[in-house]
């Protein structure tokens, strides 16, 4: 087992050196010229694809269905893997050689896998694709490692500040003027909480690391801070913004601006909170537009950008999934064709936009479906101020329910521990993780 991995790596390295090409697909002949990609399948026989559960399942199902309709002899067999097990499963698949032909992967893990040379380098195959020039910045950044590209966007989520216009009006706030700074956010929240009943001005998920990096992380970014350690010896949690935001959230909780039950939120009911109509303002994602409408059709709400400490500062978290090709895949060419299919104009409009999901290309934002939906246009603005964290140890540093990011937030929200200590402890833990990554 040990020798096998060594041999595989050695063989690949040798091949790379000899060929000077970057294709790391062992199964294709060395001198195969790369056929330009199309939006249809070139080979025959079904493709296998894994995707994590707990993501935007509807979107992925629709995309796969669209491909299958167009390519009935080359259908994609999609298997959903429980998302908490995804990283382990992919690693096992690669180590054992039993990989799917293509893979939907939470974009945040791409650096880890590209660094370990476990994804097929697609740079030469997608060279000169015009679509990529306008593809989501966050996705493209994390899909790149050392200037080589390993994946393209599958779907995109961005975070923004949703606010309940009905509650604004009731609290005497102008529903056309959402808060533009943390201080305003706090004032407005106080006013909404004062309405009483079961209504609170704000929402903080207490037990969900991912929800927090998605919606509280941008508050820190907007305040000029940096969060993750990108690699060994990189300093995480730098900038005054970290402490400012932690103080802000602690004060929010102390002022009673959040429901007691928020503390137990582990992500499983996060997307149902805003639609309940009991929260004045909440950081959440574009997916919440349709959901809130289904939950609460009469509620009027608006979307603004997540603010920072300084007035008119804003940021957003660009999340979602990438399509990547695991090393050992036997259908690299067709996987790439699927990618071109995803980025094609028709699919962007008729599948993504029609379902009111974000288009993964910024230049496709002006389409007929979005035009009828001002909220979607508003949330698409977040793409322009959005970022995606870049690190090879994202899960352990940030996304893990047992990791330092969530611990730091829980201590800030619910205890009186000195914030400098809290931040210092988290910094140390994140650095430890990064140094092993």
């Amino acid at each position: 087992m040990r020798t096998r991995s060594w041999r595989a790596v050695l063989a690949t390295a040798t091949a790379m050196v000899l060929l000077g090409a970057c294709s790391s697909d062992d199964d294709q002949t060395a001198n195969e010229s790369i056929v330009p990609a199309t939006t249809s399948c070139a080979g025959t026989g079904d493709l296998t694809m894994w995707e994590r559960s707990g993501g935007n399942k509807q979107m992925v199902d629709m995309l796969v269905a669209a491909w299958n309709t167009k390519n009935p002899t080359c259908k994609i067999n999609l298997t959903y893997i429980p998302h908490t097990e995804m990283v382990g499963k992919i690693a096992q698949g690669i180590a054992s050689g039993e990989v799917p032909d293509l893979l939907g992967m939470d974009l945040i893990y791409a650096p880890q896998f590209s660094k370990a040379q476990q994804l097929v380098d697609l740079t030469d195959r997608v060279r000169d694709w015009p679509e990529l020039k306008t593809a989501s910045k966050g996705h493209m950044t994390v899909a790149t490692y050392e200037n080589r590209l390993y994946g393209v966007p599958l779907y995109a989520d961005v975070s923004a500040l949703f606010y309940n216009k009905d509650l604004f009006t009731r609290a005497g706030l102008d529903p056309a003027k959402p808060p533009t700074s943390l201080a305003e956010l706090r004032t407005y929240a106080d006013k909404i909480t004062a309405l009483g009943g079961d209504v609170k001005g704000y929402y903080l998920p207490g037990n969900c690391a991912g929800c927090n990096i998605f919606t509280v992380g941008p508050l820190m970014w907007a305040s000029g801070a940096k969060i993750e350690a990108t690699g060994p010896s990189d300093e995480p949690l730098t900038g005054e913004g970290v402490k400012q935001v932690l103080q802000f959230t602690r004060d929010m909780v102390k002022a009673g601006n959040v429901h007691q039950g928020d503390r137990a939120e582990n992500g499983e009911t996060f997307h149902l909170q805003f639609g309940s109509g009991k929260v004045g303002m909440m950081g959440t994602g574009n997916f919440n537009i349709t959901l809130a409408r289904q939950q609460n059709p009469k509620m009027k709400f608006g979307i603004a950008l997540l603010p920072g400490a300084a007035p008119n500062s804003s940021a957003s978290f660009i999340g979602g999934d990438l399509v990547v090709v695991p090393k050992g895949s036997k259908r690299v060419a067709d996987a790439v064709n699927f990618m071109k299919f995803l980025l094609s104009d028709e699919v962007q409009v008729d599948v993504y936009a029609k379902a009111l999901n974000l288009t993964t290309r910024e230049d496709m934002v002006d389409n007929k479906y979005f035009a009828a939906e001002p909220l979607v246009r508003d949330v698409a603005k977040a793409l322009t101020v959005g970022k995606t964290p870049y690190t090879t140890t994202f899960f352990e540093q940030i996304n893990s329910p047992q990791g330092p990011w969530l611990q730091m937030l829980q201590r800030a929200y619910y205890t009186d521990d000195n914030l400098d200590t809290v931040i210092a402890d988290a910094k140390k833990a994140m650095k430890d993780v990064a140094s092993q990554g």
Partner: protein, 302 residues
Amino acid sequence: MSQATKTAGVVPGRAAARAGRLRRRGPGRRGYLVGALCVALCTVMLLPLLASVLASVKPTEEAAATPPTYLPHAVSLDSYERLWHYQQGLLTYLFNSFGTAMLTIAFTLLLTVPAAYALARFRVPAKEFVFVILLLALIVPYQALLTPMFLTFAKVGLTNSLVGLAIVHTAIQLPFSVYVLRNSFAAVPRELEEAAVVDGANSYQALRKVFLPAAFPAVVTVALFAFIMSWNEFLGALVMMSKGSKFTLPLVLAAARTETSLGGTDWGMLQAGITISIVPCVAVYLLLQRYYVSGLMSGAVK
């Protein structure tokens, strides 16, 4: 201490004694107290199962209601339908779970019956060593062994196969099964065996004609425990199976927890899955109960 192993049907000494006392006093508070206690305990034990079954026939919105309702306001098979159509379809998952469980039973019995026979009745060289090996298997967390097993299985093509998963399950069940069967075989009276030998039986025939019938309850117990373990096992199935068409029922249940779009729990489908997982186990248990319980008692009391 006596080796009474088949006392299940016999009225035990204590009860007779107590019945005697009760007769002297007449049906007193004691009798009612015991009766009430029994009924209360039965209720507590059955209530969660009943709640789950009831919840599984609620219509979808009611299943996801908060606060929850106790009895369904309407009966609907929505959740079962969703479960039925989930990805590869419930039938596939049931087939995989059932197939793996059957294979596990087969492997377990094929291996442990002769092994228990040997340990109970033969002077096997290095017997202590064997016990140590079996004990080892019992105390190492099998979760940690899954990855090395997976990598080996991948090389020989045993991943994504019911046989491969059954092997993992058998490995987990083996120590306990050998222990129970061995005790049961050891308790078989020597006279029976000697009688068979006098009639000219060799060791194999003695096994078939004397030991297996005598220890039948223990054999059923081993088979039943193997079934239950294999039917419900999750982590091994997750590691060994990467093709959706080979997933087992527990994997589907795990998926139900993040099934609604963006990771919400589909409570109705979860309840339906729980109900379907429970039904075979409880059914088999009730049918084979008299073997099961006495098998356990005989297997543990040395």
